[in-house]
Symmetry: C2
Subunit: 526 residues, 2 copies
């Protein structure tokens, strides 16, 4: 059983619940819908404390009874009991509370239950009022959460007001973007326009590429690696250990032999290790996932060196397939001088990039481009596709291409260039300020991901939505991250550290193994 541990010091429960015990009280006019907002896990403690006095809600018991009564109308034989998620708390060595969420239980932290409308709802308007109030509160939370966000590579700064008019349509780009479908409510015209834009960015002729707008970066990787496997059915998949987890998920899904390659301290693939591993499998074609920006450190694998290593090991161009996972930096790299260029003029097979990251989009999406010849190979096996559809998903969100089309048109290559410059400049600012404050920090040359000492307070981590691994946290400087926002964050961090490390019993962690001693400012290395 897989156990997810999150260390928390005096974990408070007010961090994320959308309906707190206090706000529950305001709901009283929609009393019959009170039941809809089930607050569980930590939050249930608060709830109990506040509500038990009037006896109406004690530990969720009353909820049970009402739900059962409601259910009578639907199916009397079926009573679904409440979930009681298991949270195991234990006190760790240094007095910290270790909270284990055990997979094997559905953890319904906060859940807005769907309730059956009452017969008189249309006349009273109670249900509409309840839903409007849930949505208004939710919106407020989104505003707050969007404001305090630094850890994920999402550009949250976009204005798609002009596209609101399209939300009334069920837009579905079924199957292949280049083959007409009888379903008329699609947005292929926008999709192909966006693909052409990326084809030009990555230097491939319109007639030579095939691609589509995916649902996310993972779908791009799944597609790229699948194409690689179809080209080389007995190929071995290589990826650095800092590759996105979807790469290893793909290997397992597709039943491929997979070799993990070591990394340098920067997070880049270690081509010495790559060479050694290639030589061990010389008899089998190679399928390589190259990271154009790793998830944690924003490290860019040296594409040219990867190709050179393959050649040195005797792999001719018809014996390897390279998929470039450009989740975030695939769109930034082309604008960074000195960066190894991602280009189809080099012997690569496919490139994917996320659309909700640097571009910014209300929902996850991505762009996947590969060579037409590979898709032809894949499509020649009609039984495989059982259709003229070489995508993974079949039905595809037709709104995403319009969002992308809209932003690409407004910003253009030049607009992105400016934004990349701004991000890199702000990332350097952040790294310098962290160093000035004596905090371990690293910034890769080609990256806007600043890796630094993991803040000791989990509440702080959650407030700023930082992604953490081992002793590292990171901030991905996106176009919506301004100097002002960074200063606001830095001040809070410095203030926090002065409390966390007040008495010298606890010291900031050492990051030598994570980012190297030269970037580490711990007691030993500073």
């Amino acid at each position: 059983m897989y156990i997810y541990k999150s260390k928390t010091k005096q974990r408070t429960c007010s961090s994320s619940p959308f309906i707190s015990a206090a706000s529950f009280a305001h709901f009283s006019r929609f009393s019959k819908y009170l039941l809809a907002a089930r607050v569980m896990v930590g939050s249930s403690i608060e709830l109990e404390a506040t509500m038990s006095s009037n006896g109406s809600l004690v530990n969720g018991k009353a909820l049970d009874r009402m739900t059962a009564a409601e259910e009578l109308a639907f199916d009397p034989t079926e009573v679904v009991s409440e979930a009681v998620p298991r949270v195991v708390e234990s006190t760790g060595v240094d007095g910290e509370i270790t909270r284990e969420i055990v997979l094997g239980r559905n953890v319904h932290t906060t859940c807005f239950e769907v309730t059956e409308p009452d017969a008189d709802d249309e006349s009273t308007g109670d249900k509409d009022a309840y839903m409007a109030s849930v949505l208004a509160r939710y919106r407020k939370t989104l505003v707050e959460r969007t404001k305090h966000h630094l850890g994920y590579p999402y550009n949250l700064d976009f204005d798609y007001g002009a596209l609101g008019q399209l939300q009334h349509f069920s837009i579905n780009n079924l199957g292949d973007p280049f083959i007409e479908s009888n379903y008329g409510v699609h947005s292929r015209q926008f999709e192909v326009g966006v693909l052409d834009w990326f084809a030009r960015l990555w230097e491939i002729e319109k007639d030579d590429y095939w691609g589509y707008i995916t649902n996310c970066g993972t779908e791009g990787n799944l597609h790229g690696i699948l194409v690689g496997r179809e080209v080389f059915p007995d190929g071995v998949l290589y990826g650095s250990k800092e590759s996105h987890y979807s790469v290893f998920k793909a290997a397992r899904m597709y039943r491929m032999e997979c070799v993990k390659v070591g990394t340098l301290i920067t997070g880049e693939i270690d081509c010495t290790d790559f060479k050694a591993k290639l030589l061990q499998n010389k008899n089998k074609p190679a399928i390589i996932n190259v990271n154009i920006g790793t998830t944690v450190k924003g490290a860019v694998d040296d594409l040219d060196l990867v190709i050179q290593t393959l050649e040195e090991c005797g792999f001719s161009h018809d014996r390897f397939y390279i998929h470039c996972d450009g989740a975030l930096f695939g769109l930034m790299m082309p604008f960074v001088k000195k960066a190894p260029k991602v280009s189809f003029k080099k012997p690569i097979g496919s490139v994917s990039v996320s659309g909700h990251k640097f571009v910014g989009c209300p929902m996850p999406c991505g762009v996947q481009l590969t060579r037409m010849k590979h898709i032809n190979a894949l499509s020649s096996n009609v039984e495989y596709l059982a259709s003229r559809d070489a995508t993974i998903m079949g039905s595809r969100n037709g709104h995403a291409p319009i969002f992308l089309w809209y932003t690409l048109n407004r910003k253009g290559y030049k607009g992105f260039q400016k934004e990349v410059q701004k991000c890199l400049r702000n990332a350097h600012y952040l790294k310098d300020r962290l160093r000035d404050a004596g905090i371990s920090a690293m910034l890769n040359e080609l990256s806007s991901t600043v890796v630094f000492e993991r803040p000791r307070d989990e509440e702080f981590v959650r407030r700023w939505q930082l992604a953490c691994e081992r002793n590292m946290a990171h901030i991905v400087v996106m176009p919506n991250v301004t100097i002002e926002k960074l200063d606001y964050f830095l001040n809070e961090l410095i203030q926090g550290r002065s409390i966390w490390y007040k008495d010298e019993k606890v010291r900031p962690p050492c990051l030598e193994t994570d980012i190297g001693s030269h970037n580490c400012s711990c007691a030993l290395h500073k």
Copy 2:
């Protein structure tokens, strides 16, 4: 090379291009953006005819020059030439023109190119005006296309106006719906509420299920079959030949042994054939895809008979895994009396259903539910997941759960029940009217999919967005399909036939092999 043939009689090109040659003229005030709308394939003929007179656009040549000039600002070494899609036209036996779209070329039917903004765009507002005009025209097309839509199982009748306020946020339900993520801009509270609603519908306790909101029906099938394979690594996948193509795509992706089972004339799985095929593979566990509504005929496999057949062949419950593909009918079946019930009280492993079909949603989405114990088995292999994420996609659209939550709350089980009744009633009306008019037609007892004689005119098929296979077309009667709409369609169809079959040289096709002689009204069988 896979060849997609579409037969068309004197194919006119005015059917789908969003910017016709005529409308091009109206664009003259945004002359510099004229280039943005490249009209290709058929439509380019019209374009040429209109535009060549002033010499500015001849066969797309001028486009080339301008694009190259624009590109100078970006990268002078890279000039992307125009795509010239290959369309092979030949005259068939009965004088019809056969148009072959050859996969192996990107067919840019109509494409809204992304153009680089000019320096003065902000002051002139030209670009904004151009984009607004493209979007307004596109919107108009969507209205028209939504109005004339009958062939795909999408409920186009929804009003999510109240949710427009959320389009400004990048809502992403990263990974597992039940495990907290540090990324705060999510909608897990809504997602879990929706999952609980479906858990109740399909009779499984909250603590016993695991699931998530997918991007489409295909993702549900990919997940269900993957879980099946992880439970039985050497299992053989069985699916009737009328299963959705994603089932066979999964088999190929996952490198699974796959056996296609025959079907009855209704489209249901033929359990006699299933039995024979099971007995040939008695030594290996069975993974079965059961169709709760096939794509073409809306046939519902008899789940109980499938289970009985497995038992009769000596498969104990720990030696098979059933995935129910309930794309459309998974949500309708529970409300149809006499329908075989989809329930986790039976020995099934997973159920998936689409959210954009019966519920209706602006973008494709779906619900996937499986048993917690299977996910635990899957998650115990941490290397598989390389994360605590048992979904396929990782990053997931956070808007979709809110759309579903909104509709489920408004309609409730009772609302869906009413809509299902209405659909079945209207489907019967359509079938009866078709029969009255002497047109071959079939309607399965538990279905709202009416299969009938494929209209002879491809333009008619396109206008009504009918999905066709061999001599069949079908209409899926969804909640937005009213009697008025059906009458409108029927009148056009009857009028069309009176022209197509005017002189008795050409006769309506025989559908005996497709829907049985008792449903066929061809010259021979009527």
